[in-house]
Amino acid sequence: MNSILLLIILSGYLAVLFFIAHWAEKKGNSKWTNNPYVYTLSLAVYCTAWTYYGSIGVAAKSGLGYLPIYLGPIIIAPSWILILKKIIRISRVNKISSIADFISLRYGNSRFLGAIVTVICLTGILPYIALQLKAISETFHLVTKTATNSFIFDDTTTYVAVALALFASYYGTRYVDASEKRKGIVTAVAMESILKLVFFVIIGIYVTYFVFDGFDDIYQKASLLENFKEKNTIGGLPQAINWFLLCVLSMFAIFLLPRQFQVSVIENNRENHINTAVWLFPLYLLIFNLFVYPIAWGGNILFEGQDVNSDSYSLLIPQFFNNKTLTVLVFLGGFSAAISMIVVSSIGLSTMLTNNVLIPYNLLGKLKSDEQTISSRKIINSRKFGIFILIILSYFIYRYFGLDYSLVSIGLVAFVIIAQLAPAFFGALFWRRGSRLGAIYSIIIGFLICIYTLLIPYTIGISNLESFFISKGFMGIELLRPFQLFGLDYLQPVPHALFWSLLFNSFTYFAVSVSFKGNYRERNYAEMFVDINKYIINHENAFIWKGTAYRNDIEKVLIRFLGEERTKRAMNIFNVKYNVDKNQELADARLIKFSENLLTGHIGTASARILISSVVKEEKISLPEVLKILEESKENIITNKKLTETSKELKEISAKLQTANSSLIKKDLQKDEFLDTVTHELRTPITAIRAASEILHDDDEIPEDLRKQFLQNIISESDRLNRLIDKILDLEKFETGKQTINPSKNNLSNTIEKAIEPLQQLIKNKNITIHIESKHKFNAYYDEDRIFQVITNLVSNAIKFCPEKEGLITIQIAENSDFIQTSVLDNGKGIPTSDFEVIFDKFYQSTNQNIKKPVGSGLGLAICRQIIEHHKGRIWAQPSIKGACISFTLPKNKNTEN
C-alpha cells in the first residue's frame, strides 16, 4: 500500500479522535461522556499494542504463555468493589492526582518518596512508550511495504509522535488542578478501546472462518506442526509457578501502572461506575483473547518455515491474501491501542514529573513569588512541556536503543519495575504501621534487584550467551547469576526477577516499618487511608496538627495559586461546612488540611505541605499523643454520629410538638369561637323574652291580641332556649365520648318514613313535594332514635332551603356490599363547594366570618356527624345538579362497637 495514502488515512483517523476529544470536553457532564461504559472502556487502555500484536507472537511461539497477563486482571477485578473504591475515595478527598502523590501523601507528604515513585514510573514506562512507537513504526512499514528510515525526518513515526505529543499536552492539561477530570482524553480512549477490539475481532473472524474453516480446522492443522503439544501444556510445577507469578504481576499492574491509576482512579467520576467495570472489563479482555489463539496458529500454519515476525501475524495474514482494507483496519486498531497508551501514560507521568519532582524540588520557590495567573500558567506549561518531552524522549529511546526485544518482554520488564510499588501501595491501604522509611527502602531495594536481574541483562542482551555476567554471575559468583539468583533456576527471567525483587521489597518494607516508628504525620495519614470510610465526610477532622497559624497567611498562599475568587469560594465552603466564623483569625487543623488539599491538585501533596508549613508555626507532636488524639477523634466521630442522630430525632419530635401545638392553638381558637357563638345564640332568645316581658310589665294599655302575641313569643323563645341547651349538651356528650349509641337491627326505609311523618305539616305548608327513591327494604344495625334525629335534621334543613314555589325534596337510598347510603337532596340555593367540609363544624358560619348569622341553631349538622361517625359511617355534602345534597352511609353489618 502507498505510504501517502496510509498517511492520509492516519491523519483522518487522528482528526476524528481529536474531534471526539474536543466534543467530549465541551459536553462535560452529559451522559454520553459520564457513564460506566466509557469508564470501563477507558480502563481497556490496559490493552496496548503489546496485547494487540504481542500476544499473538507469544501464542505463536510459546502457546498459552500470553494468558496470565489477562488472567490476573480478570481474577482481581471483583476486588475492585472494595479496593478500587477505597483508593478512589482516598484520592478524591485528598485531591490526589497520581500514584506518586498517593504514596507520598500516605507516608507523611514525603517529597522524597514522591520523587522515587516518579523515577520508578519513568524508568518502567518510558521504554514501554518507546515500544508503542516502535510498534506503530514497524506496522506502518509492514503495511506500506517500505523499509525503515534511518533519517529522522523521513520517518513517519516522528510525525506521529509529534502529533500525539501535541494532542496529549493540549487535552491532558486543560486545568491547573491535575485532579480534575479529563473528559476529552477519556472519551477518546474509550472510543479507541472500542475500535481496537472491533478490528481485532474482525481479523479474528476473518482468519478463523474465511482463511480457515473454523476453530476445529485450525486446531487440526496446527496439531500437525512440530512443537504443538509442547507449546500448549502448562508444563509441570515450575511452569505453573511461572504462570502464577505472571498472574500476580498483572494483578499488580492493573492497579499500579500510571495509566491504569490515571483512568481508574483520577478520571473516575462516580464510584458506582466500578460496579459495571467489575464484569464488563473482564468480559472485554476475554473477547480480546478469544481470537489470539486462532490468529497465532493460523499464522504458524500459513507461514510455516518462513522467517517472519509472529508479532505481526494479524497484519501479514490479510496482506498474504491481498486484503488491503482489512490490513488497514488491523493497522488502525493497533495504532489505537498504541496511541491511547502513549497519551494516557504521558499525561500521568508528566503530572508526576511536575507535581512530585519539578515543583517540590525546584519550581516551588519561584512559583511562590509569582502572581496567580503566572504561576498557573507556569504549572500548566511545565506539564505540557513534560508530556511533550516524555513522548519525544521515548521516541529517541526507540530510535537509538533499538529495542530489539519483542513487544511482550519489554512490557513485562515495565510491569516488574512498576510492581516494586506494590508493598508500599497496598500497605498504604491496609496496614497502619507501614512507614515512610519502610516504603523508601523497600522500593529502592526492589528496584535495585530489578536492575540486577532484568535491566542489566537486558541491556547486555538477553540472548547474548557469551555474556560472562549472565552465564557466570557477578564476578563469577554462581549464586549471583542474574537469571538464577541464589540458585533459583527453574523460573523464566521475568517471574524470576519479580519473585526476588518483591520478596526483598516486601521484607524490607515490613522489617523497616516494624523496627523504626514513623513520625506522627505518617501515622495520621495511615489512619485516614486505612479507615477512609470513617472519615469520608468531614475528613479534615481526622487531620492532626498543633501550632499557630493565621487564616490571613494561609489565604495569601492560596490566593497565589488559586486566585482571589476561588480562594474566597473555597473559604466560604469551609466556613459553612464546619460552621466556622469567617472573622476568626486563627486557623485550626481542619483549615490547614483543607488548604493543603486545595493546593494538592495544583502542585502535588509534598509541595502543598511545604507551602502551608512555610506560613504556619507547627509544634511537634509525639507519636503517643497522635495515637491518643486519633483514638479520641474516633470516639468523637462515633459520638458525633450519635449526636447527629439524636438531634435528628429531637428535630422530628420538635416538629411533631409544633404540629400538636398549632393544632391545640387552633382548637383553642375554635373553642373561643364556639363559646362566643353559644353565648350569642343563648342571648338572642333571652333578649326577645326580656323585651316582651318588659313591655307586658310596663304597658297596661297594650291591646289584648298583642299581649297574647308577646306572651306567645315568650313561650316559643323559652322553648328555643331549652332546645339549644339540649343540643349543646348532646354534642358535648358525643364529643367527650359520654354519649353511647345502641345499635339494633332496623329497617332504614321505615325509620325514614317515621322521621318524615312529624314534618309532613310543614312540608304541606310550604307546598313541597317529597319523594323517596327506594326499591326495597334496607336492613342495617343502628340506633334508631339517633338516625331518626339525623334524618329529621337533614329533612328540616332541606325544607328550610326549598324555594317558596315548587319545592322538591328527594331521598335516595342505595347499597353496596358493606354500606347503605342515604342522600337528601333539595332544589334550593345549594351549598357552596368551599363550604362542603365546614358545614359539619359547630356553628358553621358561611364564608367563615364570625359576624354572620348561622343557619338554624348551627349545631344540627355537627350532631349529625357525631351520630353517623359513632356508627362508623360517613356524612358529607356533595355537588348536585340543583340545590344541596347531603349523604351519609351506615355499615350493614353489626360491627359498631360503641
Partner: protein
Amino acid sequence: MKKILIVDDEPNIVMALEYTFKKNNYQVFIARDGQEALDILKTNYPDVIILDIMMPMVDGYATLEQIKKEDNLKHTKVIFLSAKNKESDIAKGLSLGANAYMTKPFSIKKIVDQVSELLEN
C-alpha cells in the same frame, strides 16, 4: 314625626321594638337583614337606625359602611344593638362610626331614652 329603621333578623325582637317605637310616635321601618335595610334606605332617610350585627347575607358592619357612604344619611344616627358584648366588639362598632352601641339583652326603657337622647343632640 321622627323616622326609625329597625334592622334585625329575629322577628320577636323586632316585634317588641316596633311596638315600643310606634307607641312613642316614631314612624317605624323594618328590615330583616342588611340588604333589606340598604334597599329601604335608597328611598327613605330615617333619623335613627337600630342595627343588629350578626345577620345573614349582609351583616351590621357592612351595612354601616354603606350608610356612611350615603350623603343623604349624613345626619342619621346609628345605634348598634348586638349580643356581641365584649369590649373589643363595642370598640370596633364605635370606631366604624356608630353613634351608640347597646348590648342584648336590652332594656326597652333605656333604648327609647338612648334614641331620644341622640335625636336631641
